[in-house]
Amino acid sequence: MTSLTPGYDTARPLRSDQAMTTTLDFTPRPGAAPLPRMVLAQAGAEMRAMLRNGEQLLLTLIIPVLLLVGFSQAPLVSVDGARVDFVTPGVLALAVMSTAFTGQAIATGFERRYGVLKRLGATPLSRPGLMFAKTAAVLGVEVIQVAVISMVALAMGWSPHGDPLWIALLIVLGTAAFSGLGLLIAGTLRAEATLAAANLVYLVLLGLGGVVFPVAKFPEGVRPVLELLPITALTNGMRSVLASGGGFPAGPVLVLLVWATVTLGVAGRTFRWE
């Protein structure tokens, strides 16, 4: 009915059970894998893709670490207390934004262009499953980023405070908000336009969001607006916990929650898969 694979296999000795695996039995035996297995497989593939891509690594690891080292060592901004204690929470927030927003928007934009999302749409992995996988991959990369940035910061004398639980909550909410924003752009614009927009928004938010320049330095009038940006909320939240040992960061959590709800909701409606 089906033939043994020709060529290579006949040359090496095979046990009978190994020989079986090289027989291709095309007889239909359809069935979807369990959802967790599909999500895990897709998340692993996406994570490997992110870590293999040079531009992505520049964005997610090299730039944050350079900013961390540069702004901690050089007296570029004047802050109260140790500079590394001020800069590290901001850089952690930047790392979340670079992966969840910029990296994800660009990658997803090109996946759409290359028909990758279309092809995945023909597999048993459902769209919510794909979204779970993308989120898991982003969180996985963020764990690596947080580990690397923390180690560099600790080496420079960083002394973190506060409850790690709030940090985890802020990172998850920040990831949701930035993913929503990234997917909103990637699902509507062409891949090249997504690339340009994602980089532009990244730079603007890096400058305005209190990552390394304190929001307090901006004019009084624009500050309330800046406070409502997702990057500012994440930076302020991280800083209130890590630098000051503050409790539940209610304000930032609320801002991020609103951003996440709105952007994910709109992205869900407007996302074009082809």
Partner: protein, 315 residues
Amino acid sequence: MPDAANTRPAGGADDAPAVEVRDLVKRYGRTTAIDGLTLSCARGQVTAILGPNGAGKTSTIEICEGFRQADGGTVRVLGLAPSDSSLKARVGVMLQSGGVPPAMRAGEWLRLMARFHAHPLDPAALLDRLGLSEHARTPYRRLSGGQQQRLSLAGAIVGRPELVFLDEPTAGLDPQARYACWDIVTGLREAGVSVVLTTHYMDEAEKLADQVIIIDHGRVVAAGTPATLTGAERQLRFRARPGLNLDELLSALPQGSAAKESPAGHYIIEGQVAPGLLATVTAWCASEGVTTEDLSIERRTLEDVFLELTGRELR
């Protein structure tokens, strides 16, 4: 009952055709790409959809795959609406191009596709069968066009589907790669998988397909087995000076024969091509003082049928 549910794919009557399309309409802006198309693809058979560029082949197949919405008509795949999510595990899809992340390695992608299925084929063995073993670690973008096509074909069948859609599976392949693809399609058919493929190649349709559907301008212009489309009868062809009196020739031939001159100086006699016919034609030509050249008896090819139906002009 749980056992029955496991062995029998959920949903869709088992006696339903693999694909059933009725009065399908698809418009893009003011262009009507599919104009009331009706076709049916039987279970366990290979159906080839043939047609010139822009005939509506890809639109039709992508509506069946659930990628595009029809503007009219009904489509049933394994008895279900194309959007039915239970079809995803049962139907394998090969896109005309793309679908794989450019930086992903061939073997990595096929293993990923396999992980989405409960009882997949062994990805390594499948790569081997398609001659891609040496390229398992090559990123997709570095594969040749033919290798990309074969990987895409592997992705369509790795989940052991009941039905596969192959959109121009052999376009741009070299002869060896084409043969490897034909081998797979033949293997699928023998295993009882329904195959629906689009192609430009007549020989491919003639060789592989149980049923050929020729479409043009978004409509079916002919459908049937390769044999019924080409006709059982053969043709006698010869060249001679233009303007022979064909009525006179026909009166010498058996009942039911047909003769035409197309183009000038090229003659085709159709009907019962028995040995006597050859003798009758040559004798008649001799009596008329006509010299015949290139006299031959051949079967009509699918290409003849195709060009008759869809015209010879380029598009």
